[in-house]
């Protein structure tokens, strides 16, 4: 589903190189964890997948279901099924969460040539999915992410993910800022979405999230490169020994 080949990227403004040759293949049904120390390029990878303009691709390619993803605009990628759960979800004052969900869903449906969902159908779907994530109607009426707690923001991201039913989910440090209970709710939400047709890339600093969302493959990212790939045991090893070995390995 996702093929990243020899991806090199830098920050457009100051030309600082962040990614230095990433190779990663994710097949439908798989959950890949990308772990790494701070500054290793994890968030950059997620932004590049979503199409943020601040980065410049200097080498390599990204194929999404065989199509060149780098040629697509961010909204085209979203409509094609690429979803990024942001590490820091953005606040949009004055726009109720519910309105936002409906606008996004119908925009994607339209891009795919589908009819917009009727209001009753939409409400029913949202309510059911929101209940699973312990999101109240009251929260849905509030402006998107404005005044949400850290946990509420992350749950709102997962709600959007479940509603938009993407093919590829990229979760950027979804565990950051969550307490144990919130982590469990969010993870359950994510696990519900695991399916043979859907792939996930879970970006995280800590192993604890992977206790809840058990990955098929674990990669270690350091200084812009994947330096080791293994199964879930690799995550446990990292938890015990830290990243020090890999930081050196990449140098």
């Amino acid at each position: 589903m996702l093929e990243i080949k020899n991806l090199h990227a830098r920050i457009a403004e100051d030309e600082a190189e962040i990614l230095r040759g990433i190779d990663l293949t994710v097949n439908p049904g798989e959950v890949h964890a990308v772990m790494g120390p701070n500054g290793s390029g994890k968030s950059t990878l997620s932004y590049i997948l979503a199409g943020k303009e601040d980065y410049e691709i200097t080498e390599g390619e990204i194929l999404f279901n065989g199509e060149n993803m780098l040629d697509m605009e961010p909204d085209e990628r979203a409509a094609a099924g690429m979803f990024l759960a942001f590490q820091y979800p953005i606040e949009i004052p004055g726009v109720a969460t519910m309105e936002f969900l409906k606008t996004a869903l119908n925009a994607q449906r339209k891009a795919r040539g589908e009819d917009p969902l009727s209001i009753p159908d939409f409400m029913k779907t949202v309510k059911a999915k929101a209940a699973d994530l312990n999101i109240s109607m009251d929260m849905l009426k509030r402006p998107l992410n404005v005044g949400f707690s850290g946990g509420e923001k992350k749950r709102s991201e997962i709600l959007q993910m479940s509603l938009l039913e993407p093919k590829l989910c990229v979760l950027d440090e979804t565990d950051s800022g969550l307490d144990i209970d919130a982590l469990r709710i969010v993870s359950e939400g994510v696990n519900k979405l695991r399916s043979p047709e859907r792939a996930m890339v879970v970006i995280t600093h800590y192993q604890r999230l992977l206790d809840h969302i058990v990955p098929d493959v674990v990669h270690v990212l350091s200084r812009g490169k994947i330096v080791k790939t293994g199964d879930k045991a690799l995550a446990l090893e990292l938890e015990k020994n830290g990243y020090a070995d890999y930081v050196d390995a990449a140098a």
């Binding site: 979503a50 979800p89 953005i90 994607q108 917009p116």
Partner: protein
């Protein structure tokens, strides 16, 4: 947001340069002589069959006008207006005196239908009252062509008619209140209006009456080279309530047209007036050719204790907008509100804001202003909040936000905050920014197109003000804003 998708579709369906209301009604019209003179004033006063005192009032204003200079402090620029090249009177020939609905020229009825203005009076059928009924006074060039629901309103004691009719039928009320809020010599354009005002609405709500329906006036400029000088006067007696809405459009013409209105509101003890405007005069084309010059003096006098006046405006049209709906908070415990959305695109110039003059004790005011500039437009908020010596415990809160779309437009904020009373507490906040890249990216990541994302974020930006509008106009206003911003992205 129900309106977003609709807005997008609508935006896509029209060209950048297309103003939906730009058609001209082909109707035989009678014009007065060109130019501003005593003859012009006498002619139009006679046309309106006005009593002598009204004619004299006008002539006095004209004499004073001739001694005044056009103000230059606003951030707007335009070529000199030659007041002698304008017509001050134009009326469809078919209109003579007040009419009932079935006597109105079908061509005019068709015009209003095309503009989406309901002129029909829905009957109350089998005791089922239709919801959201609105009484309309329709002003076409210099005359009111019809006022609906007059009889029904009269039953409640509410007078709703054209100002011309009021001058004839209710001279005592008009004499008592006309010019009592905006004095004849208040400013250049108000004085001009006092001399040559053509038509507008008159509303009188008696003591203790809650006006049973929304009142509205719809202004249409049709004739070429004709100024429209509307005059509106609303009086809310003790303990009464009225909500009034005005709308306006004009055909697309290459020349600029002048609109100089005066609106006066008087609220007595415990009375409340809610005045909403959706201003959509022709803004000119994409090269800045044509468009209405809109110079408006609107002022409300909270004359009584516990009275309240609330202005809400959505300003999307006009080549030039010069407008400061204000409140004089004279009565103790009175309250003034100003909610404004001003959108400028293309070559539009907006200089608008409010004045909150705190005179009485425990008076309070609230200002929420949202300016959106795009294209090569200039958008200025100009406001005054002042507490006079005796205005103990006056309170004001002002929030003034500007949003810039594109790098060639300007957004300016010019507040004057004057406190002459120590117990007055004033708070003012203002911000200026563009739509943040992060917000845009977030929306795009969720699959919205750039245009959809801008519409969504802008709708969020103006929400606090939209909420102040009567329900049925809120959706309309939202659409209008997005249409006005068409072509500003990308």
């Amino acid at each position: 947001m129900p309106a977003v998708q609709e807005t997008i579709d609508q935006v896509k369906a029209i060209d950048v340069d297309q103003y939906k209301y730009g058609f001209v009604t082909e109707i035989e019209s009678e014009k007065g002589a060109k130019g501003l003179s005593e003859e012009t004033v006498r002619f139009l006063s006679a046309k309106k069959d006005e009593p002598e005192w009204m004619t004299e009032w006008r002539l006095d204003a004209l004499r004073r006008f001739k001694t005044m200079l056009e103000p230059s402090w606003a951030r707007v620029s335009y070529p000199d207006i030659d007041f002698d090249e304008l017509y001050y009177w134009a009326a469809p020939k078919s209109v003579e005196g007040p009419k009932s609905l079935d006597e109105v020229d079908p061509e005019l009825l068709a015009t209003y239908e095309k503009l989406g203005i309901p002129l029909a009076e829905q009957e109350i059928l089998a005791g089922v009252e239709p919801k959201n009924r609105v009484a309309v006074d329709a002003v076409f060039d210099s005359v009111s062509v019809v006022t609906t629901f007059k009889e029904e309103l009269k039953k409640a004691g509410v007078i709703f008619c054209s100002i011309s009719e009021a001058v004839r039928e209710y001279p005592d009320l008009v004499k008592k209140y006309l010019g009592s809020v905006v004095p004849v010599t208040d400013n250049f354009y108000a004085t001009l209006n006092s001399a040559v005002f053509s038509d507008g609405s008159f509303v009188y709500v008696p003591e203790g009456v809650r006006c049973p329906m929304e009142l509205s006036t719809y202004f249409r400029i049709n004739e070429q080279n004709t100024g429209q000088f509307e005059r509106t006067l609303i009086i809310a007696e003790k303990g009464s309530y009225v909500s009034y809405l005005e709308g306006c459009t004009a055909p697309q013409r290459d020349e600029n047209q002048l609109h100089a209105a005066v609106v006066e509101l008087v609220a007595l003890d415990d009375a409340e007036i809610k005045y909403s405007t959706v201003q959509n005069w022709y803004p000119g084309d994409k090269d800045g050719k044509g468009g209405i010059y809109n110079f408006v003096t609107k002022r409300g006098d909270c004359r009584g204790r516990n009275s309240k006046i609330s202005w809400t405006q959505v300003e999307t049209g006009s080549a030039i907008t010069w407008k400061y709906p204000s409140c004089i908070l004279r009565g103790d415990n009175s309250r003034g509100e100003f909610y404004s959305i001003a959108v400028s695109n293309g070559h539009q110039q907006v200089d608008s804001g409010t004045k909150m003059i705190h005179l009485g004790k425990n008076t309070s005011s609230r200002i929420i202003s949202k300016g959106i500039s795009a294209g090569v437009s200039q958008n200025t908020y100009r406001g005054l909040v002042s507490a006079h010596r005796k205005a103990s415990n006056a309170r004001n809160f002002t929030q003034c936000d500007s949003l810039l779309i594109g790098q060639d437009c300007g957004a300016h904020t010019v507040p004057y905050i004057e406190s002459k009373n120590a117990s007055a507490v004033f708070e003012h906040e203002a911000t200026t920014s563009k739509i943040s890249d992060d917000q845009m990216f977030y929306c795009l990541q969720r699959g919205l197109s750039e245009e959809e994302a801008v519409a969504l974020i802008v709708n969020g930006f103006v929400k606090d003000v939209i909420q102040q509008l009567p329900m049925e106009f809120a959706v309309e206003a939202q659409k209008l804003i997005s249409i006005s911003l068409e072509g500003s992205v990308g």
